[in-house]
Symmetry: C3
Subunit: 266 residues, 3 copies
């Protein structure tokens, strides 16, 4: 068996010891694990952002990778802890929508509730299930135990429905939104390539007070300091400033409306 | 032998290359090491916070884990560098109190000074012993060399005495303090469960201008935005705000007094 | 073969999933890799700082280590992607000067352009070559493929010429600059030990409004809160404040001039 890969995504930050406690638990159960941080800087309790960041990396991890994700406002309550097998990878976390892209991507996904105490720590803190329930369950999955040993099947995991862009084919226009602002100040939207393809170039993109003509290929397509629109590395329309921050220059952030107008694709 | 685990705790931050230099040195000596970051965001030169964060994770790491800890205002001076075997784990760092919980937990702990140049880099920088002395000594320990090969026994390592809560049994009251504010703004105190158990419920907790009735179980026990008190994941009393930051809402931080009043436990 | 070590340096930050996507790709190709973060907090698109941080760690990594470095304002343009074998280590990144210290250190360095699609992902995003070109190429090198299989030799890689200190032997003076401010507020200069040795002690160091007499050995050489000058862990002159931040106290930062006056070394 290839070396097990565990990837962690939380809103714990890196100033405290919380992530390290999870890694210590993982290495105690699965000493060969390669542990990767996806990010721990999800804004506190922001499930939607966590789901989006997870979705962006899944396909780049090896088959068999186990994703442990904890953005968990309901920690310690009766909300379930779940494990998912989907798309040849595994996912562990709270049943609050954070993992829902995994079964949205794979109709054959299997979901179970994590209840078998054999695969959690002896005592499960009601304030830190990441350490006591999710990390050990994920580590056991990484060692090769079957998903179904963790607990009973869950038929109705909570699914997060992200806002989808509205397409008006008659007007050849798409109404979406900024869903993520990255470190460079790039504004990443929820408008993906297939959606864009429903209207035809030439495109005009509007966000905040700005209007951008055309959708380019690289950040450096325009002169330094100029705005550009392009399809970024996750396959979504982005608004960027060459060598600068679009978020700062436009003064817009998450949830800002983004409009694309093209020609009818017919 | 299981795969060696080395866990790093420093105040170096992650913007500079310092932590990476230590990891490069470790992998040169112990290529199989699993290296885990506990945190590198200990406030600069804040030994007490470093000791607290270390204490919170020790038990969650596998037997045999080596902890390399560097919060070291006296770097390059005559303060000693030490290595400790305690509780089936190993600890390396400056002799300034940072590691003292290791021998406070284990009366059978052995402490040595790191002087054997065979287990340090050839030249030891007087401004970066983390890289040149502590990382290599820890990596050699992880490969299995005996503690005593690093240097002579130390009988009097510097012990850090953290402030302990004052208990007044007659008044059924406990006077403690906030010792840590985490990423979520939770106020973690120095009042642990056994201390709490010396007075009986119902409890009243006071911190800043706030009074909280009762000690709950989870952050979600109260309505969104409300204050709560609970015993957190390290076994200490915490004051939190459901879905918010207690530190921000109460305007209090480290060292703020916290009072608990209960009934006599007799 | 020893376990492959891959060290990553980028300006991607750690809030987004970008670094994790690179690591997922690496582990898919080279499952045994030990992956180390040098830093991801290089200021956005600041090639010079990235080159400096890389230079500071190279020698501390094992022979055979592969450095993947991405600070890449020209991503997606016709600027080349290169791989370098130098000093028994390997380097992968954009041909924009970021890696130039590798061949400046080793006259026998070999440089190739990364063009062989066999060693990149199937599709290379024009906004994220770190994930699609540099990470896979580096991972393949780590598995042991020959440098030359990646593409044709490059005779003229872009070399970054860092500003060097000006030495006036007649006046026994050196004019340099602050090139890095670290987490502690230490001001690291471009004046290294061999340069210092061209004039003789006693030294007087000037930076901002401050004058410091003598060059010490440790941060703790002076009383708490006092300024000191010393040769730091990378072998360069630093200005520091014992227990404080020289940057904050002097109000100076990168590019601030630093003057050293000594006696003639003759």
């Amino acid at each position: 068996m290839a070396r097990p890969v565990l990837a962690l995504l939380t809103d714990f930050g890196i100033q405290d010891h919380y992530v390290a406690a999870m890694k210590g638990v993982i290495l105690g159960i699965c000493p060969d694990a390669a542990i990767v941080d996806i990010t721990h800087d999800v804004p506190p309790q922001d499930i939607a952002t966590g789901a989006l960041e997870l979705d962006a990396v899944i396909d780049y991890f090896p088959i068999g990778a186990v994703f442990v994700c904890v953005v968990d406002p309901g920690v310690g309550t009766s909300r379930r802890g779940i494990a998912v097998a989907a798309g040849d990878r595994l996912f562990v976390g709270p049943d609050n929508g954070l993992l829902s892209r995994s079964w949205q991507r794979d109709p054959g996904a299997r979901v179970v509730e994590i209840t078998n105490h054999q695969f959690t720590l002896g005592t499960v803190s009601r304030t830190f299930e990441g350490r006591d329930r999710f990390a050990p369950a994920a580590a056991w999955l990484a060692t090769g135990i079957a998903l179904e040993r963790l607990g009973a099947a869950v038929a109705d995991p909570l699914t997060l429905h992200s806002p989808v862009p509205q397409i008006d084919l008659a007007a050849a226009s798409i109404a979406g939104a900024v869903v993520r602002v990255d470190r460079f100040g790039n504004l990443v939207t929820n408008i993906d390539s297939p959606t864009l393809a429903q209207v035809a170039a030439p495109y005009v993109v509007r966000v905040g007070a700005a209007q951008i003509d055309g959708i380019g290929q690289t950040y450096a397509d325009v002169r330094h300091g100029a705005l550009c629109a392009l399809v970024g590395s996750t396959g979504h329309l982005e608004i960027a400033v060459s060598g600068g921050s679009a978020a700062a220059i436009l003064g817009v952030g998450r949830q800002a409306p983004v409009h694309v107008r093209g020609r009818s694709a017919a």
